[in-house]
Subunit: 410 residues, 2 copies
């Protein structure tokens, strides 16, 4: 007889083991500096304080005339005040002339307030007659002047470490003129497919071969979680070949995802490779599909041996790993799996004794199970999500309301 | 007096105008071929049919022995059947020998079934003694054989036009060995900042200048919506300069987003440029912030003149434009704005007569309004989202439950 699974363990226990592994990864999370243009959807690795006052100078918040405010007190449509125009201060320009009583300067929104000015009268309440400006309303002292530092003062906290950077935070960072932003490094995930029958897409198939699916689907899923895939492609599944590639993979990544070579068959060497280089923590989970999944650790790197069947590999990734990777990428909130609830259209028989994840599609607010095995590509093509059937439930009757976990966005 | 807004119009009317503009854009949506590796989160532009049977040959679904099934009928632990071993067929290999009655071949999961075999006995129910294989269980005809084409047949529909491609669909496409995938082109959005006082991040500021915010925040927001930014940076806001850049922008993009130069001040030329090259459809929306927004059309391209103030520019983009761009990018469902409901911590006074979008932060499940104007960067830094206050509401009292639209993921 061949060697069997170490021990099939429950989902809750696997989750505990994964949580510990990812906690270690989280506490060793390094940072890097990236261009401002690349910082969106990253996690800020340091507190950012304002490098300057904002605005950096007193500026006009309306188009109008900068005045010595007391000159305008009492001005009305009937009893206007007439001031002498000194200059036109456009945004971006340094004022050349000081405002003395009796004088004013035309000023645009965003332009610096000239020396001596204590208010701005909106252009709507003025009339220009050559160099003479008629003012119809008074300017209260400070009116339409945004004071230097009134938005934020140099040295004040702008953004805190741990902030998930979205377009609004990019705006705040760009206001400081920052080019390089310290962010947490992306988690690096090496992706390896094993299987002598596998061929990369675009090449010709020989008899007995099939195209590799897992390294493409997992690569997309890893990117959607905000991590960086390191794509090692199809590798041999013999002990020496797999050991060599594993050494490379753990040197270059935080997590190694393999698929294939996990079950108890004759060609299955992954478990031996992990055992010899590190530690096998899980070999066999009480779920369907995905029972032969391996979880291991080599030099503090997390090794996940996914089953070879595409449906099983992707489901185990999405259910057990994606949530942790999203947390490390700051995407826990906005990129989590969404669910909808609809009645089941057809009776569904589940497998005994294991938590079952079954692929489904939704048509007209009814849920149709997809009756294909975990090797089936058609199932992947048709599925919109999956339902969970607890291990003690064998039959879900028609019309049972089920919660569908949607693949959208994954 | 200077020229005023054309006419301040209601939000519902603006939405109708935008819907028509984006419908035209949608119906002219072109497609392109991209590498499989780049097809995730794109929209499939054609139906994809299976280019081959899957599996492409009869294959074993378990590790075991390929047998002439009738040979094994009646086999038990007590009364085993003994067969002669012909060969070992590994995955990816072409079988060399035909299974005649009395013979068997060792076969791995995924390997092609040899000619003459009609079932597979799992390795767990056998014992190997040199070239003699003891069989303890019968193989029903067809047992553990996945027939050629049983998953999907060549020519069958694999995926339909319009499918939003997620990692599971990448899996289905890779199974066919496809290298190039026809997808809808990304919507191209030109981004222009106008303002004589604006400087790109990383450069030195002179007196009176500030760093450009909008082209950075809008660029991030455009990417997050699944579109392609065309970043034209800070351009002069005089008529000739803006006309020239507008010609370039409409040639290279589907949508042109400008910011600044929209209000009724002396330096505001955008409206004239649009009027002379095409049509101004909206100039002034009954909202706060963002009242001076312009919507126009030049040669079937959508022109949006956003206000210069960063908060206003980003809010108008997120509220009025992002939903349509997400639909065009297939991201309507999974990337939409999320909301939460919590009580307001402090009384909030809204402005009369306009729908008001107010920035807020959330602390301990309570909503704090951010009392900063729409020019404020600190507001962008602190905000977690916004609330909507209808135009006929002037005061929201403490403890009022409000719905917060979250910036997460934008």
């Amino acid at each position: 007889m061949l060697n069997k699974f170490l021990k099939i363990i429950e989902v809750s226990e696997v989750e505990k083991i994964l949580k510990d592994l990812f906690n270690d990864l989280y506490s060793n999370h390094k940072s890097e500096n990236v261009e401002l243009e690349c910082a969106n959807h990253r996690v800020l690795a340091e507190n950012i304080n304002a490098t300057m006052d904002l605005p950096p100078f007193d500026r006009a918040s309306k188009d109008g005339f900068a005045v010595h405010a007391p000159d305008t007190f009492g001005a009305t449509e009937e009893e206007s005040v007439i001031l002498d125009l000194l200059e036109h201060i456009d945004a971006g320009q340094r004022p050349q002339k000081k405002i003395k009583p009796g004088y004013c300067s035309l000023i645009n929104t965003g332009a610096p307030i000239p020396e001596g000015a204590s208010g701005v009268v909106m252009v709507e309440y003025t009339e220009t007659r050559g160099k003479k400006i008629e003012i119809y309303r008074p300017a209260a002292p400070g009116q339409f002047i945004t004071k230097q530092g009134s938005d934020i003062k140099q040295g004040d906290r702008l953004l805190s470490k741990g902030t998930f950077i979205t377009s609004d935070k990019i705006g705040a960072l760009s206001a400081m003129g920052l080019k390089k932003i310290p962010v947490q490094e992306k988690i690096k995930v090496a992706i390896i497919s094993t299987g002598k029958e596998l061929v990369n897409s675009g090449q010709d198939l020989e008899y007995g071969q099939i195209y590799d699916v897992n390294s493409y689907s997992l690569r997309s899923a890893v990117i959607a979680c905000g991590a960086l895939p390191l794509w090692l492609g199809v590798v041999p599944d013999d002990y020496d070949g797999l050991s060599d590639i594993m050494k490379d993979a753990i040197n270059q990544s935080d997590i190694v995802l393999t698929s294939g070579s996990t079950s108890a068959g004759t060609g299955d060497v992954l478990k031996d490779v992990i055992k010899d280089m590190g530690e096998v923590l899980v070999h066999g989970i009480s779920v369907k599909p995905g029972k032969p999944t391996i979880v291991g650790k080599i030099n503090e790197k997390i090794i996940i041996g996914l089953p070879g069947y595409p449906v099983a590999a992707l489901m185990i990734f999405q259910i057990f790993l994606a949530p942790y990777i999203r947390i490390l990428s700051g995407k826990a909130f906005n990129n989590s799996i969404k669910t909808v609830k609809y009645p089941l259209k057809e009776r569904f028989f589940s497998s005994k004794g294991r938590l079952h994840y079954a692929l489904v599609k939704i048509i007209d607010e009814q849920v149709y199970p997809i009756f294909k095995d975990s090797g089936a590509i058609a199932a992947l093509a048709q599925a919109q999500g999956y339902i969970k059937i607890p291990k003690n439930v064998e039959i879900l009757n028609e019309e049972t309301e089920v919660e569908v976990y949607l693949f959208d966005g994954l």
